[in-house]
Amino acid sequence: MIDKKKRTVFKVGAITANFIADSIAAHSRKTNIGAHDIFLGQVRSDLIEDKFVMAIEYSAYQEMAEQKFYEIREAAFAKYNLVCLHIYHSLGIVKVGEICLFVFVSSTHRKDAFDACQEIVEQVKLQVPIWGKEIFEDESSVWKENK
């Protein structure tokens, strides 16, 4: 039942709640799954030098990023006992309150899903060549820095 096909990770624009629901529903056929851990990154309305962030515009070095996502998947399947793993990241404009990152980890027992999900999110932020530009109300912008 292990599902580790290579697939495109990037979605243009926000990741919708309906897309997430469809992903969850698609896993009901995998009856060896006992636990899902889902991480969602949501664009925050940070205040930076008196201006509120209204959106983030994501760009990426796509060929290298897809390769990195693939390596992160392979490492997670090698290290944890997982049934499924899906990663989606936005490209282009994602508005405040919308979802830009969706990591979906499924396992038989909960510990694998929890540990893998947390590690994958850290690796995505650390290793994948993606850049966010925070856009303010007045259309000025600043490049996002990850902490």
């Binding site: 070095y61 994948v128 820095e145």
Partner: protein, 77 residues
């Protein structure tokens, strides 16, 4: 000997071109020097380099038609 350079994130704000070529360099140190001559503003930024999609550390030999990416700190997620 032709190297293809691609530029991402805030580095692009400095170069105003997404890609360009540099000729007659043998390694990433020589390449960096030539890039800085052409785009002096880049010297103000920390960035890493990927040669054919692999991050390189230290001076690295280059081959004809290599693709070198200039990568500012990642900020995905």
């Amino acid at each position: 000997m032709k190297i293809n350079i691609i530029v991402f994130g805030q580095l692009y704000d400095m170069t105003k071109v997404a890609q360009f070529t540099i000729n007659e360099v043998d390694n990433t140190e020589q390449l960096t020097q030539k890039i800085m001559e052409r785009f002096p503003l880049l010297s103000e930024f920390k960035f890493s380099m990927a040669v054919n999609k692999k991050i390189v550390h230290g001076n690295t030999i280059l081959n004809n038609e290599d693709i070198v990416a200039l990568l500012p700190a990642f900020s995905g997620g």
